[in-house]
């Protein structure tokens, strides 16, 4: 493979970086909100609500991401495309776009993992913290939001940074449902030029760079919120 092809394919793959990043940030941010609801459900007193949340977490942590994407895209997507009234509605343009299936699949997946991380962190906060906030007259929700959660999130930061990296890597699976993010673009160029090693090195380097920035960012956050003991 000549140098010229390396340069053009580098630019072409770099153009796909925003797609990967938007996939990851969108699914992570919505997934985090979903995860908070899931944690609230899994800590609830009602057995049914707890069971629902736990089985959600169990399913999304116990099956490969690929199956979840397939079920959503080839399952739900196929079923939606069979419904005539949806095909005629204005939503069809959105429903027909594989990008949203990837975002939703990644979001559901990360919500399950994040919920488990957050639950572990909340349980790790000593009970005395909650008891002392009750004794100061705070309600359950006040103590949860003002006392427990801030401490739990600090506790969860290292595990969550792993989850973010897993999401960056997981976003490469979106290429299987024809989304042109980094891996998808790389695979397209590969099928056109039959080059492989150079393309994998370029794509791998970009992924490593993204993950390096993420690790640095989380290291910075961990240092910022570190407990300073005398």
């Amino acid at each position: 493979m000549e140098l010229e092809l390396i340069i053009t394919s580098t630019f072409e793959i770099l153009k796909a970086v925003p797609t990967t990043l938007s996939l990851v940030t969108l699914s992570l941010s919505i997934g985090f909100i979903l995860a908070i609801f899931l944690v609230a459900m899994s800590l609830s007193k009602s057995t049914i609500i707890r069971f629902l949340a736990n089985s959600y977490i169990y399913y999304f942590r116990g099956t490969p991401l690929l199956i979840q994407i397939y079920l959503l895209y080839f399952g739900v997507g196929y079923w939606l495309s069979m419904q005539d009234n949806i095909k005629q509605s204005i939503f069809w343009d959105i429903i027909n776009e594989p990008y949203w299936y990837a975002v939703i699949a990644l979001m559901f997946n990360t919500a399950g993992y994040t919920a488990e991380i957050l639950r572990g962190a909340i349980i790790s906060i000593p009970k005395g913290q909650a008891e002392s906030s009750y004794s100061l007259g705070l309600s359950y929700y006040q103590s949860m939001i003002k006392i427990i959660l801030p401490q739990a999130i600090r506790q969860a930061l290292p595990a969550y940074s792993n989850e973010v990296i897993l999401m960056v890597k997981g976003s490469s699976l979106a290429s299987i449902i024809t989304i042109m993010e980094i891996t998808g673009t790389m695979n397209k160029i590969r099928s056109e030029t039959y080059a492989i090693y150079e393309l994998i090195i370029i794509a791998g380097f970009i992924y490593l760079l993204i993950n390096f920035v993420i690790t640095r960012l989380f290291k910075y956050l961990e240092n910022k919120y570190k407990i300073v003991s005398n």
């Binding site: 490969p64 196929y78 890597k169 997981g170 891996t183 590969r190 994998i200 791998g204 993950n211």
Partner: protein, 232 residues
């Protein structure tokens, strides 16, 4: 539901054999990962600087890039490399690698990078006094490592190694892009020919759920067994 029956009319037998392929793929690549990971960890801890940098690079890269890239690299590029290596030794002709072997190598290499980090951490967690005690008993270096450090390190490593097993098991689903007839591939083929997406993908998801729950059960048992000596 008839679609899941055993025999020519249903996909039950295909899915069953596909699950066996998935399981054997996971076991082989996990085993490869464990052996390779242990050697990488030893190299990272006890060898010279150049080897250390190379091995650090290996674990960083393989843990930092998507699994799919590794699979593509071996699937599209692996045969070329092997053929070129073989031509150095005087073999002319193209060498074809079976997809199962490519899968084992790809997932095994990824799994190795994770288990190497686990082994490194757990070997480091063994107290230094243990080495000194071994030295005072006139054990040589190999004996200290094999009989004193490793058994204690493995006990520490077991919970994380269990997590890596689950990761490896789930990573095998990605091998379906190479066309190997494991669960994901078969459920995809069945879906395409029967136009019934939900049944086969849900069946595949259930198989994975059963596999992960069984491994969690086994994992808890093994952890208990290895911690027996530590419970007071």
């Amino acid at each position: 539901m008839e679609l899941l029956y055993w025999g020519n009319n249903g996909w039950g037998d295909e899915i069953f054999f596909a699950s066996l392929i998935t399981i054997s793929l996971a076991v082989c690549s996990y085993g490869l990962g464990l052996i390779l990971g242990l050697y990488i960890a030893i190299g990272k801890l006890y060898s010279n600087k150049i080897v250390k940098i190379l091995l650090d690079g290996y674990t960083t890269v393989l843990r930092g890039i998507p699994e799919l890239l590794v699979i593509y690299l071996l699937f599209f590029g692996g045969e070329n490399i092997i053929t070129q290596v073989a031509s150095i030794f005087g073999y002319s002709g193209f060498i074809n690698l079976p997809p199962f072997l490519i899968g084992v190598l790809a997932i095994g290499f990824i799994s190795a990078s994770y288990s190497a980090e686990v082994f490194r951490g757990s070997i480091q967690s063994v107290h230094k006094g243990q080495i000194e005690a071994g030295l005072s008993l006139c054990l040589n270096k190999n004996k200290i490592f094999n009989k004193v450090i490793l058994p204690q390190a493995i006990r520490v490593a077991i919970p994380s190694l269990g997590n890596i097993w689950q990761l490896t098991l789930k990573d095998t689903a990605l091998i379906s892009v190479t066309g190997l007839a494991e669960i994901m591939r078969i459920s995809r083929v069945a879906t395409n020919s029967e136009r019934e997406p939900f049944i086969f993908f849900i069946a595949a998801a259930c198989i994975f759920l059963v596999l992960t729950s069984i491994s969690t059960k086994i994992q808890i048992k093994i952890e208990k067994k290895y911690n027996e000596s530590m419970v007071r």
